[in-house]
Symmetry: C2
Subunit: 440 residues, 2 copies
Amino acid sequence: MAEPLRVGLAGLGTVGSAVAGMIQQSRDAIAERTGRTIDLVAYAAKDPPRDDTLDLSRLKKVDDPSALARMDGIDVFVELMGGEGNPAKSSVEAALSAGRPVVTANKALLAKHGVALARLAEANATTLSFEAAVAGGIPIVKTLREGLGGSRINRIYGILNGTCNYILTRMHKEELSFAECLKEAQQLGYAEADPTFDIGGFDTAHKIAILTSLAFGTEVDAEAVHVEGIEQISLADLQAADELGYRVKLLGVAQRTEAGIEQRVHPTMVPKGNAIAEVDGVLNAVAVDADTMALMLMGPGAGGAATSSAVVADLMDLAAGHRVPSFGRPAAQLVKAPRAPMQRHEGGYYIRLAAVDRPGTAATIARHMAEANISLESIMQRGRDRQPHGGEDPKSADKPAPVALITYATTEDAVRRALSAIERDGVVAEKPQVIRIEKG
Amino acid sequence: MAEPLRVGLAGLGTVGSAVAGMIQQSRDAIAERTGRTIDLVAYAAKDPPRDDTLDLSRLKKVDDPSALARMDGIDVFVELMGGEGNPAKSSVEAALSAGRPVVTANKALLAKHGVALARLAEANATTLSFEAAVAGGIPIVKTLREGLGGSRINRIYGILNGTCNYILTRMHKEELSFAECLKEAQQLGYAEADPTFDIGGFDTAHKIAILTSLAFGTEVDAEAVHVEGIEQISLADLQAADELGYRVKLLGVAQRTEAGIEQRVHPTMVPKGNAIAEVDGVLNAVAVDADTMALMLMGPGAGGAATSSAVVADLMDLAAGHRVPSFGRPAAQLVKAPRAPMQRHEGGYYIRLAAVDRPGTAATIARHMAEANISLESIMQRGRDRQPHGGEDPKSADKPAPVALITYATTEDAVRRALSAIERDGVVAEKPQVIRIEKG
C-alpha cells in the first residue's frame, strides 16, 4: 500500500470536528477504496473542538494556520475556518504557494477570490478542491467538473440555503409569519443570531457565483449577482402562490441569455409539480438544464456529517491521485462573461398590489400594465383581508383590497415601469410585492 | 497538449451514434477540460449508424468487435452493442486482456459478469467504466464510487426503468388501463415490441444488482434479486393508492438487513410527498440513504443524448488519467454477502381483496390477519365496483366488494400466510393483490 495521505486541518467547528471524526472512523473503508490511508496529523484551532469526544492527543497542534499550511510532514491542507479574509485566505495561499493541495468548504473565500486561488494552485502545479462549499453533501461540484463535460449547460438553479427553505416551508405549512419562523429557526440552531447573511440571500449568492463558474466556464463574479432576500415575503404571498399553483422558494439562478450570463438570487415562484417546488425544510437541491438533459440533485446542504462527507470525498480523490482543475477547466481559460443586467431579465411575474377601494382603480392598474406591454395570465382578487379560513374581517371595510396578478413572460424593466406608474397614480396603498416566476 | 485519447467504438445504435456525434462536436470543450482531445478513430457496427448524419468516412471500419478491441492504434474500447453474451462479452474481454480500458453502457453484461470483468481489468492493470449502464445520464456510479467513500450506505433505491414509470404515470393521470398505456408507450418508442424485459422488472433488476455492489462493496449477484413486474397493476390499485396517500412506482431496492443484503424489484407504494413519489414519466431517480445523509438524484434514464453524456464522462476521466476500481474497491475485496430471503422482508403492505359479499367475510379476513400478527393501519372498502367518478354500477350487485388494506410493518412471510388462509376459506373471489410499501 502507498504512503498515507497526511492531512493538516485548520478549524475544528462543526464541520472540522466531523471531518476529523470521519477520517479516523472510516480509515479502513477509505484505504480499501483508494489504496492509501488518510491520516490526520496536525491541526490548528482557536477554540476547543466542537466535538469534545475527538481524541487529538496524538496530533500536532499548530497555532498559526499559515504555519500549519506550510509545515513539513503534511500532504494536504484542509481549511475549515471559513470567512473570506485571513486567516483563511492567507493560509490557503500559503499552502498553494508551497505546491500543497488544499481542500476547503469556504464559499465566501471562493466567491471572492476563487479565480486568483485557482491560478495560484495551477502556477504551483497543485489543486484546490471545494465540494463542500456548495450544497453540503450534494456532489454538485464533482458532477459539474467531471460528469457533464460533453454537455452545454444553459441554466443552473437551486435551493442553496437551508435556513431560508426551512423558514419558507414552515410559514406555508403552519401559517406563521416570517418573524415567527425566523425565531423558531434560531431556536433550533438553523439560523444565526444575526441571520442577515442567510435570509438576505448573500450565502446563496456566494454559492451560485461558484456554480456559475463551474457550469459556464466563466470567472467567478460574485459582484454580478443580483441579490434579494426573503425578509419581505409574507404568508399572504405563500397562500396566494399556493392558490395560483406555485410554491415560493429562495433560488439562486444562473443562466445564459443573449445579454450575457444572468446571476440572481431572489424569492421565486416555482410551479407545483416541478421537483424543486417540493423540496422542503432544510434540504438543498440543485437543478441543471443542459442540452443533453435536465438533472436534479437533492440532499442536505449543511450539517457536520453531510458536509464532512464532501470534504472526505475531495481528500479521497487526492489520495487516488486525481487532479481536476478547480473550476473544471484551467483557470487561464475561464472567460470574463458579460453580465446580463437585471432590467433585461425575462420571465413571468407574480405581483401583489394593495389596491385602494375606489372607482377606477382596476382600470388604472390594467392600463399601466397594457402600456408596458404586460399580458396577464391570471388575476386573483380577494374581498379585502380575507381571513385564512374564509369570512371577511368586518373591521377591514376601508382597507385596500389585495390583488394578485400573474403575468405572461415580460421583462423586469417593463414590470418596474408599470409599477412605478401605478404607484405614481396613487391607486395602491403599499409598495407592490414582486416575485419572479421560474419555470421548470 | 498530451496525445489524443484514441477511441474504438463498437455499436452505432441510438447511444453509439450519439457518442460518436458528441465526441466530434464537443472536441474543443473536452480538450479544454482534460488537456487532451478524444478522437474516434475506428468502429465496428453490424448495421448502418442510427444517426445517418454521422460522418464516418475518416474512421477505420473493423468487422469483428474483438479485433477492434485488440487493434493497435486505439487507447480505449467503447462497447455499446449491448447484451450479456457475445460479441459484447468477448470483445470486452479481448480489450481488458490486452490491458486496454473499456467503457460500456451494458448493464446486462455487468449484472451477469461484472465481478469477473472487474477482476480481469485489474489483473491487466486497466479499468472498466460504466456510468451509462445505470440510470442513463444520472451520475450515480461516480457518486457511489467517488462521492460517498466516507459514508456507510444503508439503502439504495430508485426508479430505474423509464418505460415502467411512463406507463404507471399515464395510467394514473389519464385513468387508462395497463394494456392501453403499454400500447401507447410502444407507439412512442418508449417500449419494445417485446416489452417483457422492461415491464417484467428484469432491466431494473440488472441495474439494482450493479448499484448494490457499488453501494455495499459486495460481489454483483443479479440472481439474488427478487423480481416482480408491473403487469398485474390495475388502475384500481393506482386510485386506491392515491386515496390512501401513496403513489405506485416500480422500484429497485437494495438494503442492508440483519439477514444480509436484500435486493428486490417490485411495484411499490411510496408515500406522496416523498420526492421519489413525484418523479413522473420516463424520468429515473436514485435515492441513497447513508449514515451521513440522504441523497436523491433525478434525470433521464435513457435516450441518446443523456446516455452518451455519461459515456463521454467516463472517457474524459480516462483522458484525465483518473483510475477508479470498477465497483469502487479492488475486485478482490468485494465480499460475497448473504442473500436476505424475501420471506423475511419487513415493511408495510397494501393488500387489495375481492371480498365475496356474504356474512362473516370481514370477520374471516380480520381473523386471519390477526392470527398472522398483522395490524392494520387503514381499511378502505368501496360499495362494489364504484365507478371512477362516483355512483354505483347497478349491474354489480352480485360482484365481490373490493377492500384495500394498509398494514403496519410486518413480514412477507406473515402476509403470505394470512392470504393463503383467506383464499383457502373462500372469502375472496380473486387472487389478492399485494404491493409493498417503501418509506422515504
